[in-house]
């Protein structure tokens, strides 16, 4: 009851006309930034901080504006995933798997609607979790140690083979390639430079955004240049402009399953939104892929990861607010923002500055509703983008990606790396290697290694520590069950195929 009173106070703060306007502006800008490849939510929030300052907003209003940008980015990331097969940000990579095939089949508006609803459900689920259980969840999350995180990553990589319909060995190769790429740079544990060829440019390793844009966007240009003689001018049938309710409902319970899985991995600061989206997709695939249509445009393959990544983004606010521990790049920027607004996140935040916390939470509810209302009408606008001629769209997307990266790093070296990734991505696509596992490997590889090494630092080199915690053992058990299940399903499918004709 007390919680509800506090939340009501929060709404009173957030619902002033100025704050509502800011929420609207934040949602719009966030969606825009999120949908531009190369300019993900981390940089989006970071570069808009000075704007918030220059408006001389009070802390609550600034926080509302930037949280709406944060949520907006998370909504926006899916748009270019679906329409262009280029993830707008890291967590949106899973959405390319089924979203882009849907768009190619003329169901772009359906995919956008499903993902908008999924984003809404996921983010709202997380916000409710944040409202009701934040301090309690934080005290549970701290019991997740390095060996438990390592078990979580093992689970992710053990189940990765099945994410695409293609050759599972090639998927594994892609995942390992990503892990190898992730090891380039200064080793955080000891400061040793690995695979850098003595170049300072490589000391921080490969930025996942650079790799994403290169692998997806530039390889897409090369693909198009190869096929342009054989294709009719319009690649994609436009389909319906406004999706039917029935299509939106086809996401079904996938919305909820994705939300739950995403939320759990958001609350764990070492897991984050990309892993949340990935596990939601894997979970949904194991749960409901009866006919092998995942990866070919199954609506549930859009609904689950989108609900998952938005739920994880909301969940990630819990350790950030209650412990001061950011679970992702974006929450790290939000943390820096809070501190510069003279708000100290941590165990005392909810007691000391309840008006700010509850104002923020209320703003998140509002942002969600605004984003849903904003995104549904925008669908027809976005799908119309597909009817733009490729010679306008592609150079524009490439230049936006180039500048999104150059304007942050001021390194033309990064641009060359991007082109290199583009060529690599093109070759891999030609031989049927999925690009998504490479990005997953790149995103999770460093954390996987660090947590393994942290575990062994704690135990002074004794490997037994990896199997001592009940949490880790549970995760390994789930991994084993999932592996057995997929072998069993593959076996049954083969036998079914043999006996059918």
């Amino acid at each position: 009851m007390e919680t509800l009173n506090l939340l009501a106070d929060g709404f009173a703060v957030a619902l002033t006309p100025t704050n509502l306007m800011l929420a609207l502006l934040g949602c719009f800008l966030g969606t825009l930034i999120g949908s531009l490849p190369g300019l993900g939510p981390v940089n989006g929030v970071a570069i808009l901080i000075p704007v918030a300052f220059s408006l001389e907003l009070d802390p609550t209003s600034a926080l509302i504006l930037l949280s709406c940008i944060y949520y907006g980015c998370m909504y926006g990331g899916r748009i270019s995933s679906i329409l262009l097969n280029i993830p707008g940000d890291e967590p949106a990579i899973m959405t390319t798997l089924d979203g882009y095939p849907m768009a190619k089949a003329g169901k772009a508006s359906e995919a956008l609607a499903i993902s908008a609803v999924a984003s809404f459900i996921g983010a709202t689920f997380a916000t409710i979790g944040l409202t009701l259980f934040a301090p309690m969840l934080a005290s549970v999350a701290i019991h997740f140690g390095p060996s438990d995180y390592f078990a979580l990553y093992v689970m992710a990589f053990a189940t990765i083979g099945g994410i695409t319909g293609a050759n599972p060995f090639k998927t594994l190769i892609a995942a390992f390639l990503g892990l190898m790429i992730a090891s380039v740079g200064l080793d955080p544990g000891t400061g040793v430079a690995r695979f850098t060829f003595d170049s300072f440019h490589l000391y921080d390793g490969f930025d996942p955004i650079v790799a994403i844009v290169g692998l997806f966007a530039i390889s897409e240009v090369l693909m198009y240049l190869e096929k342009m003689d054989q294709l009719p001018d319009k690649m994609v049938p436009l389909g319906r402009a406004i999706p039917k309710m029935k299509d939106i409902l086809s996401g079904g319970w996938a919305y909820m399953r994705g939300s739950v899985i995403g939320f759990v991995s958001g609350v764990l600061p070492g897991a984050g939104a990309s892993l949340g989206a990935f596990l939601s997709y894997i979970g949904e695939q194991r749960w409901s892929d009866k006919d092998g249509s995942f990866g070919k445009g199954n609506p549930k393959g859009v609904a689950a990861p989108e609900a998952g990544n938005n739920s994880a983004s909301g969940g990630a606010l819990i350790p950030m607010l209650t412990l001061g521990v950011p679970g992702s790049g974006t929450t790290a920027v939000m943390l820096a923002l809070l501190i510069s607004l003279n708000i100290q996140p941590g165990p005392l935040l909810f007691e000391r500055q309840p008006d700010i916390v509850w104002g923020l939470i209320a703003a998140l509810y509002i942002a969600n509703v605004v984003l849903l209302l904003l995104n549904i009408p925008l669908i027809s606008l976005f799908t119309r983008m597909l009817s733009m001629p490729q010679w306008i769209l592609m150079p524009f997307v490439v230049m936006v990606s180039f500048m999104g990266i150059y304007s942050i790093s001021h390194s033309t070296f990064d641009l060359l790396v991007m082109v290199g990734f583009g060529v690599l991505g093109y070759i891999l696509r030609k031989i049927g290697v999925s690009l998504v596992p490479i990005i997953l490997g790149l995103l999770l590889g460093a954390d996987m290694e660090n947590n393994l090494r942290r575990s062994l630092s704690i135990s002074d080199g004794n490997f037994a520590i990896l199997f001592q915690s009940p949490i880790a053992l549970t995760l390994y058990a789930i991994t084993a069950i999932m592996l057995c299940l997929s072998f069993y399903l593959a076996f049954r499918k083969r036998r079914g195929a043999e006996s059918a004709p």
Binding site: I173, F195, P389, F402, I431
Partner: protein, 143 residues
Amino acid sequence: MTDRIVGLVLLAAAIWYGLTAGTYEASFGDPLGPAAFPVMLSVPVAVLSLFLLLRPDANPDWPRGAALLRQLAAICILVSYALLLERLGFLLITFVAVALLGRLLGSQWHKSAVSGAVVSLVLFLTFDRVLGLPLPALPEFMS
């Protein structure tokens, strides 16, 4: 055939990667050190590359003739863009690159020139002026 070549390249890469990683050491630090994890990675990669070598999929169709030339031209444009960006300044090089890419993607010269001008101006205003992320606007000798 393609799979075999890729498999071979990958095998060589995995061996090089594992051997290079093996040389990393820190006089100081955690029990596992900087070498162990990459060395651990190189083994499954080598095994998987053998799989590509021994059980390759059917060959994909590689582009020939005009298509291949177009791809090479696009790569050249993008690489030159990266190399010349700071020397020629953002506005000029973006105009040229977008115009050339547009032409390559099948539009007419005058149309792609317009698109080049619009894209370079819009992006400059968005990034440099609006978002406050400075870009080198003009050629080096003019600024």
